[in-house]
Symmetry: C2
Subunit: 172 residues, 2 copies
DNA sequence: CGAGTGATGTCACCTGGTGCCATCACCATA
DNA sequence: TATGGTGATGGCACCAGGTGACATCACTCG
């Protein structure tokens, strides 16, 4: 992460990372499957927590509330490390391959939530749509949250974005 | 594409593709920036057509109608080559790196539509949410459409998915 | 003390991807 | 016809990401 920040992602070689860490290139690849994966070390944890939030919600909760619960869970993790998230986000934004990786992580999150929603009795299509809307709102809110000079809480931004999404689909 | 279908994407080397095409590895990379890009040859065309559909819609149209117009444009292109889309989809589904590429293409589509929506006077957040909902519905409908034994038209599936999304956000 | 086990190093190797220069076909113009 | 320019291709060397196979070393357990 330090090296990525100092010299840029593309300009950093795995050999250099390994050297800085006092290891070998080979050993690096035993810990990380990828050069990219370093930036997504804890992503599955976030996924698990959002899924758990959905599973823990009351059975009668409508889809939008489930999304809200998952976003609240995400908010907790995000607020834990705002400046780190900012650095990480800037690095990811600098490289297309990292954005690709970020997108597939989001997709993985969505499919996990889809499974959880199906397990709660939602139809396949409804579950998929709901989960994807959740990642959509998360993405939009995250873009506003990171590097926000006012340091507005993520939870607030996510709530607003969700409300706006509701308006958009209701109007007309 | 033939080689990807025969031997699988991962097992196919660029040198083999070039040889089959009567070219050199070097020449291949002058036409395609990537080994992956072969599968996404016409993706920018689809993007342009969906953007054009949004721009061509009446000024008074609500967001959901704009999404509908863009999806109709996509439907036209999809129906042109159903079996090809099926093969292509199967190949993409077989490889994570191809899925990553597909996701970033969808994202690029979304940002292009976001720009178009902003140009029509939509707010930044509203535009982003609308565009992402469009790609979401497109994805869900596409998954149902491809390899569907009943050969239901894409337009129908997209319309249904969009209606279901509306229900999901309205309920509660 | 010796065997087994897990983490690391070492090396060879493959493949995707790029820079650089040579070559060749084609085309316009004198 | 000869000449020179231009665009597409080939050839080559090279780098970086990534993997497999084997050696080594530390640590633990009996």
């Amino acid at each position: 992460m330090a090296l990525y920040g100092e010299r840029g992602y593309d300009e950093t070689t795995v050999a250099e990372i390994a050297e800085r860490a006092g290891l070998t290139k080979r050993t690096f690849f035993r810990y990380f499957t990828d050069k990219r994966e370093v930036l997504f070390w804890n992503s599955d944890l976030l996924e698990q927590q959002m899924v758990a939030a959905i599973e823990a919600a009351p059975t009668s909760a409508p889809p939008l509330d489930l999304i809200g619960a998952a976003l609240d869970a995400a908010a907790v993790r995000f607020e834990e490390s705002r400046e780190f998230a900012g650095l990480r986000h800037r690095i990811v934004a600098s490289s297309p391959e990292l954005q690709e990786r970020e997108l597939i992580k989001a997709r993985s999150m969505a499919t996990a939530m889809t499974r959880a929603l199906c397990a709660r009795g939602a139809g396949d299509t409804a579950a998929a749509l709901t989960a994807l809307m959740c990642t959509t709102v998360m993405h939009v809110a995250f873009e506003q949250w990171v590097d926000d000079p006012d340091r507005t809480p993520f939870q607030q931004l996510a709530k607003d974005a969700l409300a706006q999404l509701r308006e958009l689909t209701a109007a007309g």
